[in-house]
């Protein structure tokens, strides 16, 4: 393929890259996707809920054959304490009528492969088992990429970098600095086999309904992090994540944190007797708005995790931000293709589109979340313990008159912690949550 030249080269076959490829191929561009795994999805890991608002837009009939595990109708949020949890959940049947919540559990090795098949059907070329290390330059401009293989030089007019969170390629272009340990989460998870019937019974679900349980507070052995359980068809995904800086500070290994989470008294009965299937790890860019990469330059655009598009707040969205930025890069490339102008000025249309998109607006709204959590480490240790004690005592039936107990617990709350610091943390938490 040495002398072949493509209209577009996409590096990385995840949701961002494949969406860009799909959009461009549909418009008649010659597109090649270069994926380092054995197949698209082979290297890809996430928690488990794929948000399909963008997929629905570009492929309205995706539900016909997409490898969906379960339709999430129930979400639960809990504040974990060392020996318990204070939680709340919601579940709506309306989500079963039209799937309007666009929230499905998927397994990435199947789902990304399916998306890559759709790209191929749309006319894109996909090569797998090829890792890209560098760019090919011509007249000081990017003219292609260098894959680490025989005949690995690929030429193209526009390069879409969708090489994931580590994005060594965007770093090479100085589009972003090295990932910051404070705003990079290491997530580990296990996929655990359970029968469909058990999953329905344990999580109180009907048919193909699914549940997403999120655990905050003391869920990562005191590190700044959270835990999750998502139900797939006949497996569950169980994981934890915490910032690298916080894991280092607490001298924690992610697997030990995961083991502690699985053995927590509130989690253990949900994972009991399951058959472990896989253990995986992946980074999550948690820097949000403030740490986003430069998005475009001459002949190049950066999409998805590679640019830092993850909303790691209460909402835990990522794949939809990836697909939206991939779509916008694809649309920009189509306009550039028509004008035959791939200059930085032409591709800066991508920046403009992103600025007005939901990923950017959401990240902007929550731009202080990471720092706020970092400044409130007690939310991951001391405060959940205190709140747990208060709730446990309030509901301990021991003959103490209620008015007395309530007064006593209020005093306990006000004297055990600096009430102003506690109040400030509560106000901070409200801002980062909704």
């Amino acid at each position: 393929m040495a002398d072949e030249k493509f209209d577009a080269i996409v590096v990385g076959g995840g949701p961002a890259g494949l969406t860009a490829a799909y959009v461009m191929a549909k418009a008649g561009m010659q597109v090649i996707v270069v994926e380092r795994g054995e197949y698209c999805g082979a290297k890809n890991v996430f928690g488990g809920v794929f948000f399909t608002n963008v997929l629905r837009e570009i492929m309205p009939d995706f539900l016909k054959d997409a490898p969906i595990e379960r339709n999430i109708t129930k979400r639960r949020f809990s504040l974990m304490t060392p020996d318990g949890e204070i939680g709340g959940d919601f579940k709506f049947d309306r989500f079963n009528k039209d799937f309007s919540n666009n929230s499905f559990t998927v397994l990435r090795s199947k789902f990304d492969k399916w998306l890559s098949d759709k790209c191929e059907a749309a006319g894109a070329m996909i090569i797998t088992g090829a890792v890209v290390d560098d760019f090919l330059m011509k007249d000081k401009k990017i003219a292609g990429v260098k894959a680490r293989m025989e005949d690995g030089d690929l030429y193209g007019d526009v390069i879409v970098l969708a090489d994931g969170v580590n994005s060594l390629l965007a770093k090479k272009l100085n589009f972003h600095k090295e990932l910051d340990p404070k705003s990079t989460i290491i997530g580990v998870k296990e996929v655990i086999g359970l029968s469909e019937e058990r999953i329905r019974d344990r999580f109180a679900l009907n048919g193909n309904e699914g549940a997403a349980y999120e655990y905050f507070g003391y869920s990562a052995k005191g590190a700044i992090g959270s835990g999750f359980i998502y139900t797939n068809k006949d497996t569950i995904s169980v994981g934890v994540g915490a910032t690298i800086a916080s894991m280092l500070e607490h001298k924690l290994n992610p697997n030990d944190v995961l083991e502690a989470f699985k053995n927590h008294p509130t989690v253990a009965p949900l994972v009991r007797d399951g058959e472990q299937k896989e253990y995986s790890a992946h980074l999550i860019p948690d820097g949000g708005y403030k740490k986003l990469s430069k998005l475009s330059g001459d002949n190049v655009m950066v999409v998805g995790d590679a640019a830092g598009f993850v909303n790691a707040t209460l909402f835990h969205e990522g794949t939809n931000l990836a697909m939206e930025t991939g779509k916008l890069a694809g649309e920009t490339a189509i306009e550039a293709f028509k004008k035959k102008d791939y200059s930085a000025v032409s591709l800066s249309q991508y920046d403009t589109k992103v600025k007005n998109s939901f990923p950017m607006k959401d990240l902007k709204q929550f731009k202080n979340t990471g720092e706020t959590l970092e400044h409130n480490p007690k939310m991951f240790d001391k405060y959940p313990t205190l709140f747990g004690d208060l709730v446990a005592e309030l509901f301990t039936v021991d003959g103490e008159p209620k008015w007395n107990k309530e007064k006593r617990l209020m005093m306990k709350l006000l004297t055990s912690e600096n009430p102003f610091a506690l109040l400030k943390t509560m106000i901070d938490m409200r801002k980062v949550i909704i």
Binding site: A42, F46, A147, M149, I186, N255, E278, A281
Partner: protein, 92 residues
């Protein structure tokens, strides 16, 4: 159902195809104690110190997350493994 908790057993669940050459190394001249001070964070426990205090890098167990390069950017030399090699997630 037997539960696997050791790293060796857990990694045994995964599919790995090791390439002949490592894609990870400790940069020459680095303090080997970085293994104990920082690289304990590796989710696959790829980095260990030998009895003589020399770093051992079991690259064939790497989950390719990148945590080590972010935790110790000055000491870890990190690249993606050869295309098609390394871990292949069956679920993901």
């Amino acid at each position: 159902m037997k539960q696997f908790t050791s790293m060796e057993d857990k990694l045994g669940l995964n599919k790995f195809t090791a390439f002949e050459k490592t894609h990870l190394s400790i940069k020459p001249g680095s303090d080997p104690m970085v293994v104990e001070h920082k690289l304990f964070i590796c989710p696959a426990k790829v980095y260990e110190l030998s009895d003589k205090g020399v770093p051992i890098v079991s690259f064939e167990n790497c989950l390719e997350c990148g945590t080590c390069r972010v935790a110790a950017p000055d000491e870890v030399e990190w690249a993606y493994p050869q295309g098609g090699y390394g871990v292949t997630f069956k679920f993901g």
